[in-house]
Symmetry: C2
Subunit: 334 residues, 2 copies
């Protein structure tokens, strides 16, 4: 949009040439919703879709970061390259502090087959899930074989983030209390593979059995079983590297199962959700942002200041938006 | 919109007459983004703004629910009526299970001066923060003196929810581990009053001192101090009812301070954010929902299926939306 550079010398070309600085820059553009991101991605479009995207979520303390590190080490030993993206939607509170270890790792990694990046949301309208997909696309275009998309907690935002992955691991551990028991009811919704980490702690056998039963009940209820994928429950001790091969094997099995037929459609639906998120985010910015034409913010403020009921203000503004009178002219790059 | 009932016999009139069933129904409409909600609220507009809205957030296990219950008991003893709204944005995982206690309480409350309601998000595009404001408006219109808006965890979604309150309590407790230490950096952003609950546990004195120092550093850095409000740190043992009077007193002090000048503007900004959220939610529904005219979903799907790069699809659709060609005609009730 405002870029003075020639696209031929742009980040896309540098990224294809293996320039990690260009990759980092492109991810920053994704994070900041910079319009140049989409321009560069046009040139990279043919390179998207080769990486396998693995989402990793679960409650704090379950050992997700350790598991991701060990999984990356395992995949590296098998000759694969790995991109790691750690995302923290709780950052309006934490200031991204929960990502501290990841940020330090980013600086330390010397293996050219690994790229680590963390992302935190900066505002309430963060578009973090959208940015995470964009960052995965950039890692994919760069050529990583596998992308590990890790969240730092559990919640609506994390759910949206990992939903974009091809295979979702949900990581739990024994003894983390009632929050986890409570989560079990809904957790199979997103999990393709369940991992009980810290399986050397008391209570892990019970947790494995409980989860297996919950998975079975769910399949019996026909809510999931009809698609033919049975969610496995795998016990690991990631800190000691135990059973990571089993996790990797099940990721591979899930991939093979998807590739037998469902993958194209699943990815198309995820891509559609991504496009919808980008459009909604840009529409919000076009309507309400600092540079928004039409002065919607001022009009809303004025109507509210007159004492109009909020839903009357909504109706009035929405009508003018939908009639095309509240919108700025479309610029050619948006 | 599709309501056949005469608005004169509607929920608004019943709510004004003190009908708790009408209040419950109105909150359900808010939860479901039912267009009838806005119609009823028009008649109630003059009754909004009298209740004091207190947001309560903090990590799981800090004792928020107990604190809210005891605070409600304290306010009741002082002759105030209290509405409690417990909100769970993690519910795509938990199925609302974290709200279990609250749901059971809803059924048990016999005090007509207390109303308890829980809300959980049902999908990824939940609009839960928007619905929480609507529910607070309904409780406000009903006539409750104080509204306690409680979240079950900490994260971006919770941040958005409590930001709508007049006074925000952040509840921590000693010994809850590194997550909380990490949160301290950012937690003063939203807190008007900091509560160290379970203050009979080891480490509470240290936590109080740490938080006081963090609050002081923040004020010294002029990021907050220039507005004249000093965030207090209060030690409580909510389970034993200890020091709840102190929490109530500080809520009152914060209220008095806001009422000296900043309240009108603060509420106007919060109302503006609410109107923006409603408009964005309805616009998303108008563009992408099941009954959306213009077939945006099908057009996006088609363009993607042709192999067009996602950001080209975004640009193409956004241009037609902004030019007013991708939108349905505004109906009179939206």
């Amino acid at each position: 949009m405002s870029s003075p550079s020639n696209p031929r010398d742009g980040l896309a070309a540098r990224l294809v040439a293996g320039d990690r600085g260009a990759l980092a820059r492109l991810i920053s553009w994704a994070e900041n919703a910079d319009p140049r991101f989409g321009e560069e991605m046009r040139a990279l479009h043919g390179r998207i879709g080769r990486a396998w995207r693995v989402g990793v979520t679960g409650p704090p303390g379950a050992g997700k970061s350790t598991l991701v590190n060990e999984l990356a080490r395992f995949e590296r030993a098998a000759g694969k390259t790995v991109g790691i993206l750690a995302v923290d939607p709780s950052s309006p509170y934490s200031g991204g502090a929960l990502l501290g270890d990841r940020i330090r790792m980013e600086e330390r990694t010397s293996d050219p087959g690994v790229f680590i990046r963390s992302m935190a949301s900066r505002g309430s309208h963060g578009g973090l899930a959208r940015a995470a997909v964009d960052a995965c696309d950039a890692l994919d275009a760069f050529g990583f074989d596998e992308i590990l998309l890790e969240t730092v907690g559990v919640g609506q935002a994390e759910y949206e983030i990992v939903s974009a992955a091809d295979t979702v691991l949900v990581v739990l551990c024994p003894g983390a209390g009632d929050g986890i028991q409570a989560m079990k009811a809904g957790i199979l919704e997103v999990a393709d593979v369940l991992v009980v980490n810290k399986a050397d702690l008391p209570g892990s056998d019970r947790l494995v059995l409980d989860l297996e039963e919950a998975a079975h009940v769910r399949e019996t209820n026909q809510k999931r079983g009809d698609d033919g994928w049975h969610v496995p429950v795998i016990a690991t001790v990631a800190g000691k590297g135990e059973n990571l091969d089993e996790v990797a094997r099940w990721i591979g099995k899930h991939r093979a199962w998807l590739e037998q037929g469902r993958l194209a459609r699943a990815r198309a639906e995820k891509r559609l959700a991504h496009v919808r998120a980008v459009i909604d985010e840009r529409l919000d910015e076009a309507l309400w942002g600092n540079r928004a034409a039409g002065g919607l913010t001022e009009r809303a403020r004025g109507l509210l200041a007159e004492g109009r009921p909020p839903y009357d203000v909504v109706a009035s503004l929405l009508q003018s938006i939908l009639a095309g009178r509240g919108l700025p002219q479309a610029s050619e790059n948006r």
